[in-house]
């Protein structure tokens, strides 16, 4: 009797952790999450520059189109790869905006956010042990999603002196016989760096020579402020090696709708569609209707929002420079990435002290991987008065250091 109880107790004691898949168990919580917890626990009136999300609401005509379609009872599953009119609108849009031509019937897949598209691409491609090359600092999800799929994430450091561009040499140096995929994200979260046509050509050559596949996350493609975005898929010879990932979250202010897409070679898209079909079936129909409206009638509104980001970008960059923080000029997305090296603090120390002493939240650069230490990610998707207030507080903070 007693013996039995002991066994039962021991069973209870076995840790839930032991059940978890090793890749998940070993996954570190994101640095952003950690900082988020710090911020949320503070009761004070914090001005945030920490959000990677537009401050605009989805344009009204887009919301209204979704409401109208709901009223007419459009609430069912759609085809796995998305409603045909949306896929056509996406293909037309990519063709007119970025000169890449996809066949809507089999080269376009509508997904639940760009996030799902990245996950599908990695899951469809990775054989455990494959090396996935990731220029850093970068969006925080690439490396953990790679690990879940059994891949090995290999960071490639990029530098402010190169405006955080990926260089041919850095790419070559990172390649090994196990390298299979390169994840690109330009315009970049968190640095705001972009790549020009001339920047891409040598990279394309290396990719060809080493037979790599590219996942090009172009979710910030519309948000460029000097020159027009050059899609990696538009570089000669690259379209069939590239899975272009994008979505509606950023340029169309539609984060909550969870709408994204992937475009590429039909065999890649078909492989991704299989996983998509078994995991989520299809993207939500309301979101697809809204996304279709955004692409067909929302381009002007989109341009208006981008002009507004541009004005605020100039404001924040000048603000940092006036304060005495070195800040390379971000050419895309809606983040400034000033250097705080001159203060002698680490990114994390700087961000924490700025939060506790001056009530401004910004994300320490080290959470974005190699090359991020010494920087601070500051979103400028905030109102002019909030930005001015934040800059003033940062200036005061710097003077007290």
């Amino acid at each position: 009797m007693i013996k039995d109880e002991i066994t039962i107790q021991q069973n209870k004691v076995k840790s839930m952790q032991d059940y978890l898949a090793p890749a998940v168990r070993e996954m570190k919580p994101s640095g952003i999450r950690k900082f988020f917890d710090l911020v949320s626990n503070s009761k004070e009136d914090i001005i945030s520059l920490g959000v990677g999300e537009p401050d605009f609401s989805t344009p009204w005509h887009v919301r209204e189109a979704a409401v109208h379609s709901l009223e007419r009872g459009r609430t069912k599953y759609t085809p796995n790869s998305g409603i045909p009119e949306l896929r056509e609108a996406i293909a037309d849009y990519l063709h007119t905006s970025f000169k890449v031509k996809y066949e809507p019937s089999n080269e376009v897949l509508v997904t639940v956010g760009g996030s799902e598209a990245i996950d599908l691409a990695l899951r469809a491609l990775i054989t455990p042990g494959d090396e996935i090359l990731i220029p850093e600092p970068c969006y925080i999800s690439y490396s953990p999603i790679t690990s879940i799929s059994g891949g090995v994430a290999v960071g490639i450091e990029t530098f402010a002196k190169d405006q955080f561009k990926l260089t041919e040499k850095a790419l070559r140096d990172a390649i090994t016989p196990r390298s299979k995929i390169l994840i690109l994200c330009y315009p970049s979260n968190p640095t705001g760096g972009i790549m020009t046509y001339e920047d891409w050509l040598p990279i394309a050559k290396v990719i060809e020579e080493n037979d790599l596949i590219v996942i090009s996350d172009e979710i910030y493609a519309e948000l460029t402020y000097g020159q027009k975005h050059v899609s990696f898929a538009a570089i000669p010879g690259m379209k069939d090696r590239t899975i272009l990932v994008s979505g509606f979250s950023k340029a169309f202010a539609m984060t909550g709708w969870r709408m994204g897409y992937a475009c590429g070679h039909q065999e890649l898209i078909s492989a991704m569609t299989k996983i998509h079909q078994y995991t989520v079936m299809c993207a939500p129909v309301m979101g697809q209707v809204a996304a279709h409206e955004a692409l067909t009638n929302g381009l002007e509104e989109k341009d208006r929002m981008i002009e507004s980001y541009n004005q605020r970008r100039r404001l924040i960059v000048k603000g940092f420079r006036d304060i005495g923080l070195e800040c390379h000029e971000p050419q895309g997305a809606f983040y400034a990435f000033p250097s705080i090296v001159a203060t002698g603090l680490t990114s994390e120390e700087f961000a924490q002290r700025l939060l506790f002493e001056s009530k401004v939240a910004a994300v320490p650069g080290d959470v974005f991987g190699l090359g991020g230490e010494g920087f601070l990610r500051c979103s400028y998707a905030y109102s002019v008065s909030q930005l001015n207030e934040a800059l003033e507080r940062i200036g005061n903070f710097m003077r007290k250091l």
Binding site: F36, V39, G52
Partner: protein, 163 residues
Amino acid sequence: MDALKLNILELLKEDARRSADLIATMLGTAEAEVARAISEMEADKVIVKYATVVNWSKVDDEKVTALIEVQITPERGHGFDAIAERIYLYPEVKSVYLMSGAYDLLVEIEGSSLKQVASFVSNKLSPIDRVLSTKTNFILKKYKQDGIIFEDQEDDHRMLVSP
């Protein structure tokens, strides 16, 4: 009008207190150029006035606003202009528009009480010679004015930090 001036107007429409320095930074031009464009527009009466949009319903001293549809017989030689002028010179009158459709002038009147507005209409407006008829519509609640929505706009519900 050139693009710079249009951009300046939009930024001032959002907030008339923005300085030339701030506007210059936001538009990526020189402060002197912005200051010059603003003075030019002030001189040309493109910028007529820097005003405050007040939500009077939040102030104890509430105001009453009426929109009055006025039918008139136009005057030989002056069309509607002379009568419009007679009307708009009254300080109670906030705006006067010549309209197409069922009536001729739309007159906006602001007063401190219903009674005051009504008495203005019956004692001042209606007796004007060529005024044929008036129809007074009181504004009960202002939802949006000059592109500005009066109800408390949605707060920023975004997380303080996110990817």
